[in-house]
C-alpha cells in the first residue's frame, strides 16, 4: 500500500471516530436493528464501539451485512449516524480489496450489462402480446463512465486483483 493511501485510510478512520464519539453505548441501535435480530454477529453498537475504543475497524467483515435501513440512525438518542459509519467502514474495507465477492460480482454485472437484472426474452414476448412499447436498453458505456468518475472502477480492480491473489 502506498503512503498516500495509508494517510487517506488514517484520515478516514479518524473521521469515522469523530462521528462515533457521541455514542454512549445504550444499545437502542442494536435492539432496533432488523439484521441483528437474525444475525447475532452483526451488532452495530459493537462495530461503533471498536472504532471509539481502538480506532480500528474489526476484521470480520460483518459490516457488509448492514441493510442500510437507517433504523439505527432514526432512533439513536445521540444523533450518531450508525448506518453512515458502517458505510464508511465498508468503503475503507473495499479500498483494501476486502469487499465480498457477491458485491464485486454485482458491480461487474452492472458495468458489463448496464443493469442488474437483465430483461428476459419471456417478458419481452409478453410485452409484445400486450401491445406495450419496448423497454429502454441500458447503456453500459454510461455506467462505466460513472464508475470511472466515482473511482468505483479502481475499487473494483483492487478487489478483483485481491480475489485472483487469493485463488492462487
Amino acid at each position: 500500500m502506498t503512503d498516500q493511501a495509508d494517510t487517506n485510510r488514517t484520515q478516514e478512520l479518524e473521521e469515522l471516530r469523530e462521528a462515533a464519539r457521541p455514542c454512549f453505548q445504550c444499545g437502542i441501535c442494536a435492539s432496533s436493528c432488523p439484521v441483528f435480530r437474525v444475525t447475532p454477529e452483526m451488532n452495530p453498537r459493537v462495530a461503533v464501539d471498536s472504532i471509539i475504543a481502538s480506532g480500528e475497524i474489526s476484521e470480520d467483515g460483518t459490516e457488509w451485512l448492514c441493510a442500510y435501513c437507517l433504523m439505527c440512525d432514526q432512533r439513536c438518542p445521540m444523533g450518531v449516524s450508525l448506518a453512515e459509519i458502517l458505510l464508511g467502514i465498508k468503503n475503507i474495507a473495499a479500498k483494501e480489496g476486502k469487499a465480498p465477492t457477491e458485491f464485486t460480482q454485482t458491480l461487474e454485472t452492472l458495468a458489463d450489462d448496464g443493469c442488474l437484472s437483465p430483461i428476459s426474452s419471456r417478458s419481452e414476448k409478453k410485452r409484445v402480446e400486450l401491445g406495450l412499447p419496448d423497454l429502454p436498453r441500458p447503456d453500459p458505456v454510461i455506467i462505466q463512465k460513472m464508475l470511472e468518475a466515482t473511482s468505483a472502477a479502481d475499487v473494483l480492480k483492487i478487489n478483483k486483483a485481491a480475489l485472483e491473489e487469493a485463488s492462487e
Binding site: A30, S31, R37, N43, R45
Partner: protein, 853 residues
C-alpha cells in the same frame, strides 16, 4: 411603585468622594496568572511589561491569584501608595469577579465604578490553549482596550433603595411551599401564587417517595395545612402572575386569578354536588385513568379544601342549562357570578418555584405509549398503586384489570436523547427502583426487570434501596429499550432490548411495561425575563457559588424550575432560596445599580425617539419640552442611547466615547484580521464565558466589547469598526423574542440591521462581514461556532484582497459624494494609525453632509 428617585436624591456630596476630578490619570494594572489557568497560555510577564507602556499607566503588578486575600490587599496598598485613581484587573470574566474587585477598591477609598476588568481567562487562555503567541497578543489588545476605557471612567454614586418587606413565591409545589413557609416563619408576608386549584404539586399525586418509601401525601398533607393556616401566607390558587414591574425591593405584581365558582369559605367539601353533576371529564389527578365530574376536587387532602368548577366542562351554572349542583348545595357555596379577577400587591423579592413538567411519552412513538394500554408512565403507575387512586391501590393491567405477572421498567424515557432532552433527569433511576420495590411489595411473585443505561443511585440512602431491590430479586439489565410491540389478542408486550454486557438481543414478553419518565422544563414564560437553558430551565447566577440567585437582583429560583430534582433536593434548594431572599428583606434597604442614562440637553434635538425605546417608561418630557430620565426607573440598558440620532444620551460606563475608544484600540494593528464582537452582559457575554469555562477552542481574532444590553449597540459602532478596516463585526444579544433582560432591547437592535446593511452596501462592505446573532448564556457551543465561522469569513476576505483596489475602481464609476468615503476606507485598512478616529469623523461628516444633498 416608589415615586421618589433615589438616584437623583443622592447628589449629597457627603455620601461619596468624587475622585474622577483628579487632573492626572493614574492607572494601576494588575495582571493575574490565575495559577496556571492564565499563566500557562498567556505570557503574563510580557503582558505586564506591555501594560507599563500604555498611556496613563503608572503601576503594574503581577499576581498568581489576584482574587485571593493577598492579591486584593496588594491592590489596596497600591491605591494608597501610588495614588492610583483607576484600576484595571487583568484576569477572569467580569461576571465572575467584578463585584469582588469593586468592593476591594471601595475599601481603599476609590469609587467602585473606577475599577474595570480585562477578561483574559474566559476569552483568551481557556479558548486559545494551543496558540500562546496569538493568545498573548490578544491579551495585550484586551488590556489596552480596558486601559483606554478606564481612562474615561467616571465615579458613580452608590445608592440603596427601601425594600418592601414581603415576598412573592410562584408555584406551590413542595419547593414553593417550603420557601413560603420558611419566609413566613421568619416573619415576612408571603404571597403564594399557584396555577392549579390546589397546592401540593407533583408530590401530592405520588404514592410513596424514595428512598425510604414513606407515604407521600402523609408527609406532604400536614405541610399543606400549615401553608393554608399560616397567618403570614396569602395563598392565591387558580392564579398566574400577569405582570411585574419595578426592581429589587420594589416589585409591583399583578396576579390574574381565575374564577373558582365555589366559595372557599362556605364549601365543606361534603361532595353532594358531585353526585348530581352530569358531566364526566378525564381525571387530571389520576392521569386520565378514570373519570371525574365538572365540579371536582383534585384529591381529598386538597388545600384549599374546596371544590371548583371546570368552566370548560360545565354545562352552565343556571337552572335552564343545568345548575343541578346549585340546587343540591345546602351551604349555598356555589357562586355562578364568580369572574376572573386581578389582584395587585407589592413585594421586595420573588422566588420562582414553577417546577417542571413530566416528559411527554408521545414524543417517543417506538415505545408505544398511548397505542398500547399496558405501557404506562411512572406517574400512571403511582396512581394505579395509590390507595386513593382509581383501583384503590391494587396494581392491575389497564387492558384487562388483571394482576401483572411480569413487569419491565424502561429507564431514561424522555431524557438523554436528542429527540427529547439531552440531560439526565436526575430522579428517574431512584424512581424506577422504587417502582420495582413497590411491585415486589404488592406481588412478591411478580417478576420485575429494570432496563437501565447507567444506574445513577447517587443520593443519600439510595444505595441501600438499590441493594434492597437486588435482594428482593429485581433483575437489572444494562441496555436501553429499543422498541415495544403488542400482541393484539392478549395485549401482552414484547420488549426488544440489547443486553449490552453480553452483546445479546433480548426479546422478552411482559404483562406490563412502566416507562420511567424524565422531566421537561417549562420555564421562560414569566413576565420578567430570567435566562433559561436550551431545555427551558432557569439559569442560576453561578452554577456553584450562587445556585439559587438569578441574574436579576431580588429574583431567586428553586426546585424543578431550576433543574429536574427529587423532593429532598427541592426542599433544600427552597430553604436556600428563602434564606437568600430573607437577607434582602430583613435589611430593609438594598444597594442598586448606580448607572442611569442622562440626556445631554445641548445636543438633544427633542425628537422623542428615546421615549419609545425605554421599556421602563423612565424618560419623560416636561412642560418646556425637555426630555429627562428618571434614575430609579432606568435600568441602564442603553437602548435609548443606541437609537439616539444625535448621540445625545450619555450612558455612564458604556459611553459612545468609551466604546469607540475600545474599537480603535482593537483595530490598531492588522484590523482586517479582527472581529469586533459586541456582547450583552446578560446573555451573550455569559455565553462567551461558558465557551471559555467549557474550554471550547476557537480562533483568536475576536475582540469582545461588553455592553449592558444589545439595545446599546448603535449602528455607528459597526460603521466605525468598518471604517477602521475591521475584518468582521458581530452584534450579539439575548434570543428573540422574549429573552432580553431589558424586555425589548434586542428587538430595537434587530431593527437597526437594515440600516447597517444599507450603509455597508453603500460603502462596498461585503454582506457576510456583519452578523447579528442571538446567543444565550447556555450556548457556549454556539459562540464557538459563530467565532469559527466569522474567522473563516475574515480569512476569505483577507485572501480575496486586494479589496481596496476593487473599492476604488467601483468608486470611480459611482457618483462623487460616495467616492470620498470610499477612498477613506481603504486608506484606513492599509494604514491604521492611532489618530484615525479624528480623520474618520471628518470623513463621516462629509458623508453626512453629502447625503443631505
Amino acid at each position: 411603585m416608589t415615586t421618589s428617585d433615589p438616584k437623583e436624591s443622592s447628589s449629597d456630596p457627603s455620601e461619596m468622594e468624587v475622585v474622577s476630578t483628579d487632573p492626572e490619570l493614574r492607572i494601576g494594572v494588575f495582571p493575574c496568572k490565575c495559577g496556571k489557568n492564565i499563566g500557562a497560555v498567556v505570557d503574563v510577564d510580557e503582558l505586564a511589561e506591555y501594560s507599563k507602556t500604555l498611556p496613563g499607566v503608572v503601576f503594574v503588578q503581577v499576581n498568581t491569584y489576584t482574587c485571593a486575600d493577598p492579591g486584593q490587599r496588594e491592590i489596596q496598598e497600591a491605591i494608597t501608595e501610588h495614588g492610583l485613581n483607576r484600576v484595571v484587573v487583568v484576569s477572569c470574566s467580569p461576571t465572575m469577579h467584578e463585584d469582588t474587585f469593586r468592593k476591594t477598591v471601595r475599601e481603599a477609598g476609590l469609587n467602585p465604578y473606577l475599577c474595570i476588568m480585562a477578561n483574559v481567562r474566559e476569552h483568551v487562555s481557556w479558548v486559545h490553549q494551543h496558540d500562546p503567541a496569538a493568545a498573548t497578543q490578544k491579551a495585550k489588545d484586551l488590556v489596552a482596550m480596558s486601559v483606554a476605557k478606564a481612562a474615561t471612567l467616571e465615579a458613580q454614586p452608590e445608592l440603596d433603595v427601601p425594600v418592601t418587606q414581603a415576598a412573592l413565591v410562584v408555584g406551590a409545589g413542595v419547593a414553593g411551599m417550603q420557601a413560603a413557609l420558611d419566609l413566613a416563619d421568619a416573619g415576612f408576608k408571603v404571597n403564594l401564587v399557584e396555577k392549579e386549584p390546589t397546592i401540593g404539586g407533583i408530590m401530592a399525586i405520588l404514592d410513596k417517595v424514595f428512598p425510604q418509601n414513606d407515604c407521600s401525601i402523609c408527609i406532604l398533607g400536614p405541610k399543606m395545612v400549615d401553608v393554608a393556616k399560616h397567618p403570614n401566607i396569602n395563598l392565591i390558587t387558580l392564579a398566574e402572575v400577569e405582570t411585574i414591574s419595578g426592581y429589587v425591593g420594589n416589585f409591583a405584581v399583578r396576579v390574574k386569578q381565575r374564577a373558582r365558582y365555589v366559595d372557599i369559605d362556605t364549601c365543606t367539601s361534603c361532595g353532594d354536588c358531585v353526585e348530581v353533576c352530569p358531566v364526566d371529564v378525564p381525571s387530571r389527578t389520576d392521569q386520565s385513568l378514570t373519570w371525574q365530574k365538572a365540579i371536582q376536587i383534585p384529591f381529598p387532602q386538597a388545600v384549599p379544601s374546596s371544590y371548583f368548577i371546570d368552566p370548560d366542562a360545565c354545562l352552565g351554572m343556571d337552572l335552564i342549562r343545568c345548575g343541578k349542583c346549585i340546587d343540591r348545595c345546602e351551604q349555598k357555596a356555589i357562586v355562578p357570578s364568580d369572574r376572573d379577577k386581578y389582584i395587585d400587591f407589592e413585594v421586595g423579592v420573588i422566588i420562582l418555584a414553577t417546577g417542571f413538567s413530566p416528559a411527554d411519552p408521545r414524543k417517543i412513538p417506538r415505545l408505544g405509549w398511548g397505542r398500547y394500554p399496558n405501557v404506562i408512565t411512572t406517574l400512571e403507575f403511582e396512581r394505579l398503586i395509590n390507595a386513593a387512586g382509581p383501583t384503590e391501590g391494587s396494581l392491575v393491567r389497564p387492558s384487562d384489570l388483571v394482576k401483572p405477572k411480569s413487569v419491565a421498567i424502561a429507564q431514561c424515557v424522555g431524557s438523554r436523547s436528542k429527540d427529547t432532552r439531552m440531560a439526565c433527569s436526575n430522579f428517574c433511576c431512584a424512581e424506577s427502583v422504587k417502582c420495582a420495590l413497590l411491585v415486589k411489595e404488592h406481588y412478591p411473585d411478580t417478576e420485575v426487570t429494570i432496563y437501565y443505561q447507567d444506574l445513577r443511585m447517587h443520593g443519600k440512602y439510595f444505595e441501600d434501596q438499590y441493594l434492597k431491590a437486588r435482594e428482593e430479586g429485581v433483575k437489572f439489565v444494562r441496555g436501553r429499550v429499543g422498541e415495544i410491540q403488542q400482541y393484539p389478542d392478549t395485549k401482552n408486550l414484547r420488549v426488544s432490548v440489547e443486553d449490552t454486557t453480553h452483546n445479546k438481543l433480548l426479546m422478552i414478553d411482559y404483562d406490563l411495561v412502566i416507562l420511567s419518565m424524565g422531566a421537561e422544563g417549562r420555564s421562560g414564560n414569566f413576565p420578567i425575563p430570567i435566562s433559561c437553558t436550551e431545555d427551558s430551565f432557569y439559569i442560576e447566577s453561578h452554577p456553584k457559588l450562587r445556585p439559587v440567585d438569578t441574574s436579576s437582583a431580588g429574583v431567586f429560583i428553586c426546585g424543578g424550575a431550576e433543574s429536574p430534582k427529587d423532593i429532598r433536593d427541592s426542599v433544600i434548594q427552597a430553604s436556600a432560596a428563602a434564606g437568600r431572599a430573607a437577607i434582602i428583606l430583613q435589611k430593609g434597604r438594598y444597594p442598586i445599580e448606580a448607572l442611569s442614562a442622562k440626556i445631554m440637553q445641548d445636543l438633544c434635538n427633542r425628537c422623542g425617539t428615546c421615549v419609545s425605546r425605554c421599556p421602563y417608561g423612565a424618560i419623560s418630557q416636561d412642560g418646556t419640552g425637555k426630555f429627562t430620565v428618571m434614575g430609579a426607573l432606568c435600568q441602564a440598558c442603553g437602548t435609548c442611547a443606541g437609537d439616539c440620532p444625535k448621540d445625545a444620551i450619555y450612558m455612564p460606563n458604556f459611553t459612545s466615547q468609551q466604546i469607540e475608544a475600545q474599537i480603535e484600540i482593537a483595530l490598531r494593528e492588522k484590523p482586517e484580521d479582527k472581529i469586533v464582537a459586541f456582547a450583552c452582559a446578560f446573555c451573550s457575554y455569559r455565553g462567551s464565558d461558558l465557551a471559555g469555562v467549557s474550554r471550547m477552542q476557537y480562533p483568536t481574532n475576536a475582540r469582545v466589547i461588553r455592553a449592558m444590553c444589545s439595545g446599546r449597540y448603535s449602528p455607528r459602532f459597526a460603521q466605525k469598526a468598518f471604517e477602521l478596516g475591521a475584518g468582521a463585526v458581530l452584534y450579539s444579544g439575548c434570543h428573540l423574542p422574549a429573552d432580553c433582560h431589558f424586555q425589548t432591547g434586542n428587538h430595537w437592535m434587530a431593527k437597526r440591521e437594515p440600516r447597517i446593511r444599507g450603509w455597508m452596501k453603500r460603502n462596498n462592505v461585503s454582506e457576510d462581514r456583519f452578523r447579528i446573532e442571538w446567543v444565550s448564556a447556555g450556548e457556549g457551543k454556539k459562540w464557538q461556532t459563530i467565532m469559527s465561522e466569522m474567522a473563516n469569513v475574515v480569512e476569505e476576505h483577507k485572501t480575496s484582497l486586494p479589496a481596496p483596489k476593487k473599492a476604488t475602481k467601483k468608486a470611480k464609476a459611482k457618483p462623487k459624494p460616495k467616492s470620498k468615503t470610499m477612498k477613506a476606507k481603504p486608506k484606513s485598512k492599509t494604514k491604521p494609525r492611532p489618530k484615525s478616529g479624528t480623520i474618520k469623523k471628518s470623513a463621516s461628516k462629509k458623508k453626512k453632509a453629502s447625503s443631505k444633498k
